[in-house]
Symmetry: C2
Subunit: 194 residues, 2 copies
DNA sequence: CTCATTTCTTACACCTTGCCAAAGTTAATC
DNA sequence: GATTAACTTTGGCAAGGTGTAAGAAATGAG
């Protein structure tokens, strides 16, 4: 799987794994039903090599999701979250996440329907949500946000509104500017800002 | 598909179609990857009969989605939407929709990842969203809601918040009462209710 | 009752997932 | 640099799913 205890894998193994994921992401985004064989071919590798790294198709998809999550986290951490008004930090955070997710819309759609291994999802959810949570909690502490709703709900609602705005934009029902503005106003209202 | 021009189909054909959909819904909800053959068997029918009614697996799933949408619309129309405060009507509406969708959580998850035939989705989206839109527009006219955001965005945001509350509840992160309350407060804030 | 529609049976071609074993290659280690 | 273990490839197999087809049997409509 991702990291069997601590063993050091050979260089070509790591490279193959990376090649597979690198090829899988754009391919699955273009054609979400792409077969394992198609992914292997796109990666310049044999199907059996894929199975050497990922026990099943689903675990491959899970690894793809992990990769994308890391990518998003990278962009998120580039936005400094402890500076300035919590509302602004929140918007920067949402924007960073949306930017990554927006790069692979079809893929995100597919991955969202993945079976949820109870423990594992927690980690991914936490990784993204915790950053959001920290910012929201800062806003609550400083009185910038209203604390009459549970923090975890505010986190979930913020994420889902971010998704919605992203979708309205890619569906062409809102321009990029309109979507940004709608999301901004909506979040401020939701959080009972100021 | 649903209604080839206007021909009158034989009684047993209509019955078979209904049997298939009736069987497909609970089966797919329990096991979203169920094969066409499994669905046919559950319906007491042959696989070829299924293919006689639905050209492909995906079109069968689309028909299932249509069926569920009708079901939800039925419950939605049972709640009278033109009476009392728009906010209350909105909550009744959301609740009706959530009740239907909540009956088949796994299935909804799967169906949400269906390929979207551009024209066709419009009809379904409109059917549900229009009812929401009408209520929201009433609230805007009466000044009950704030009109500084596009109506269509408010509709989309309302739907997505409804989904989120539903998920938080089924995931056990919020009790039913907490979810209701969180959704109520959030919607009122989002809509800028006075 | 007759006929057209619908269903059932049987069958086929094709694709995908997973698995296995043996033979080749490549990188790590001494 | 040679040895050894890890990794990849080649080739192949079984199970199961989708989609299509043709003829026989059943069933509803007129």
């Amino acid at each position: 799987m991702s990291s069997p205890p601590g063993r050091t894998r050979r260089a070509d193994a790591r490279r193959s794994r990376a090649l597979i994921l690198d090829a899988a992401i754009p391919l699955l985004n273009a054609r979400p039903e792409a077969s394992v064989d198609a992914i292997a071919t796109a990666a310049g590798v044999t199907r059996q090599t894929v199975y050497a790294h990922f026990p099943s198709r689903q675990q491959l998809l899970a690894a793809v999701l992990d990769r994308l999550t890391e990518e998003a986290l990278g962009e998120m951490d580039a936005a400094d979250l402890d500076t300035g008004p919590a509302a602004d930090a929140l918007l920067r955070l949402i924007d960073a996440g949306a930017r990554t997710a927006g790069r692979y819309p079809a893929l995100m759609q597919k991955l969202s329907a993945l079976p949820v291994p109870p423990g594992e999802d927690q980690a991914r959810h936490t990784a993204v949500a915790d950053r959001l949570k920290r910012v929201i909690e800062r806003g609550l502490r400083t009185g910038e946000f209203d604390d009459r709703l549970p923090v975890d709900w505010l986190v979930a609602a913020t994420i889902t509104l971010g998704h919605a705005a992203s979708e309205e934009r890619t569906a062409g029902r809102l321009s990029a500017a309109e979507a940004d503005e709608a999301l901004r106003v909506s979040l401020l209202r939701l959080l009972g800002a100021k």
